[in-house]
């Protein structure tokens, strides 16, 4: 097939324009985090980087105890992502390798229904429940209520359904129990899905805002997203955008790194790239 060069030109042209427009705000924000105070206020605005990145980072770091906030966010997101993967693998296994059992459809529907019950629909009672448990302002409240995953259960169920039944029969005849089968056959097969799901759930939890806002009350339990709000508030009189943007940089870097690390698995998992 001949390559239509005129068409190719327009594709590149449109994509380049789109890329510049879409990425400009990120570029400008990152650029801002490198400017000194006076450069940040200069008019017309500066579009080229300055040399104050590290000073700004350390100022943002000290203003809201960024180290602690980053640790909290990373700990919470990692825990929730791993727990979701673990729980949904177990559930998907139950739905695929045990034939029919009583209540199977009901339980399946119940796990899927979680999609219809986002936090705002149950926020007041969930908050009160945390008070009953005395979980306010603890890691328990920030992690455990998020442990169920409809997405994960569906994803792993879909994968397990493609595993031939004869494999399970063979394992059984060889004397392997269900858990052994799960551990040595199914889990290794799920590597791609585990990678994709870890990325999705880590980013989701890292970006969560409303729940940490209401359930945490002391600064040492806050997360990075709330740190941004605190930075904005502490700089409210005359927004020191260079400091705020250094904080923003710290808040967006970890999920980006996770995205880069898992990008390949993720793209393969979504069929965007051939497995090598």
């Amino acid at each position: 097939m001949t390559i239509n060069r005129k068409k190719a030109f327009w594709v590149y042209f449109f994509l380049t324009v789109a890329l510049v427009v879409i990425l400009f705000p990120i570029y400008y924000a990152l650029n801002m985090s490198t400017l000194s105070d006076s450069e940040a206020y200069s008019y017309p605005p500066r579009f080229l980087p300055g040399s104050h990145l590290f000073q700004n980072l350390s100022r943002a770091w000290n203003t809201v105890h960024m180290g602690r906030l980053l640790f909290n966010s990373a700990f919470i997101s990692g825990t929730v992502a791993l727990a979701k993967i673990f729980l949904s693998i177990l559930a998907a296994f139950a739905f695929t390798f045990f034939g029919e059992f009583k209540g199977k459809f009901f339980f399946f529907a119940m796990i899927l229904v979680t999609h219809m019950l986002p936090l705002p629909v149950r926020i007041v009672p969930t908050f009160e429940l945390m008070q009953t448990f005395r979980w306010n302002n603890t890691y328990y409240a920030l992690t455990i209520p998020f442990f169920a995953s409809a997405t994960g259960t569906l994803l792993f169920r879909q994968l397990f359904l493609t595993v031939p039944a004869s494999l399970a029969d063979a394992a059984r005849i060889d004397g392997a129990g269900p858990l052994r089968f799960l551990r040595s056959i199914l889990v290794p097969l799920s590597k791609t899905n585990v990678g994709a799901l870890f990325l999705i759930e880590f980013v989701y939890m890292w970006n969560e805002y409303l729940w940490p806002l209401i359930i945490t009350s002391s600064n040492d339990m806050r997360v990075v997203q709330i740190g941004l709000k605190m930075l904005l508030a502490s700089e409210a009189q005359a927004a020191d955008w260079n400091i705020i943007m250094s904080g923003t940089l710290l808040a967006m870097l970890p999920p980006l790194i996770i995205l880069l690390v898992f990008q390949n698995t993720f793209m393969v998992g979504f069929g965007l790239k051939e497995e090598k």
């Binding site: 994509l15 890329l19 879409i22 400008y28 007041v124 970006n207 941004l228 904005l232 923003t248």
Partner: protein, 293 residues
């Protein structure tokens, strides 16, 4: 399906952890939301009075609440419509068999990792009335600067823009995945028959993408209704006035700033009803049009 492992209790044991979490933290609190919505807290917060439908009556006749509902609907329709059409177009361009597009794909997908709050802070900087680059560009074009912090309609436009921008990466990922299912032979056959690119897009690509579009329609709507909270809290706090006070923000204010538990619970119930109705409506509406291969 045949029975593979003959253990009777094992499946229940495997399901137990997920079900405990779902029941304790999702199902029971949702039911309690319904229960609480029929009560009102005494001024000192020590007693609850049964008030029947009064919370709902108050909400559905209050100008504030109906205004908030209207803003939410406008916001959701714009974010979903704008976001889906823009990202579908970009995904189709990114899916062309041309050299170097992997690089574009990678860069565009990165916005997926940004949080609503981060998106909010970044756009607040871009549109900053005094020193932001947007007003600077306007000035270069001889247009008078805008101050979205004091102009309600502009504030709504800007949160729509910021919220749409934040979802582009997510939508593009799913559209790209959906496009892998569109057979290249079909498009080539259409080309040979003399179909233009525009015609191929609307007659072949859009219909074949419809399952993906449908999934994204629901995910984007849930996002527009619920997940924009961080973006709004960082950018406008519902202001100016209450121009950008979407339902979830009003719910937060009534429940956790004014501690009006019953009223907040009633809003939770209404939110659920709206989303359920919209979802059912979408199922009905798209049922005939969605093409499953």
């Amino acid at each position: 399906m045949q029975r593979r492992f003959p253990n009777r209790w094992m499946p229940y044991l495997l399901l137990l952890p997920s079900l405990v979490v779902v029941v304790v933290f999702l199902v029971i609190p949702s039911i309690q939301s319904v229960y609480l919505s029929f009560f009102r807290m005494s001024p000192f917060g020590d007693k609850m009075f049964f008030v029947q439908w009064q919370n709902f009556q108050n909400l559905l006749t209050s100008k504030d609440y109906l205004g908030s509902l209207w803003v939410t609907l406008v916001f959701a329709v714009c974010v979903v419509g704008l976001g889906l059409s823009l990202s579908m177009l970009l995904a189709v361009l990114l899916n062309q068999k041309l050299r170097g597009l992997y690089f574009y794909r990678t860069l565009l997908i990165w916005t997926y990792a940004l949080s609503p709050a981060v998106a909010g802070v970044i756009w607040a900087l871009i549109f900053s009335p005094s020193s932001g680059p947007f007003n600077y560009f306007l000035k270069l074009l001889n247009i008078s600067p805008i101050n979205w912090m004091t102009t309600p309609s502009v504030a709504v436009l800007i949160i729509i823009l910021a919220a749409t921008w934040k979802m582009l990466g997510y939508n593009i990922i799913f559209f790209l995945a959906g496009l892998q299912a569109v057979p290249v032979e079909l498009l080539e056959a259409a080309s040979i028959d003399g179909a233009t690119a525009v015609r191929k897009f609307f007659r072949i690509t859009v219909p074949l993408l419809s399952p993906t579009t449908f999934f994204l329609l629901i995910m984007n709507m849930l996002y527009a209704f619920f997940q924009v909270f961080g973006l709004i809290d960082v950018m406008t706090k519902g202001g100016p006035g209450n121009a950008t006070e979407v339902l979830v923000y009003k719910l937060y204010k009534d429940g956790f700033v004014h501690f009006n538990t019953g009223l907040a619970a009633a809003q939770s119930v209404l939110l659920f009803v709206f989303v359920a109705v919209l979802t059912v409506f979408q199922f009905r509406f798209t049922e005939k049009k969605v093409f499953y291969s």
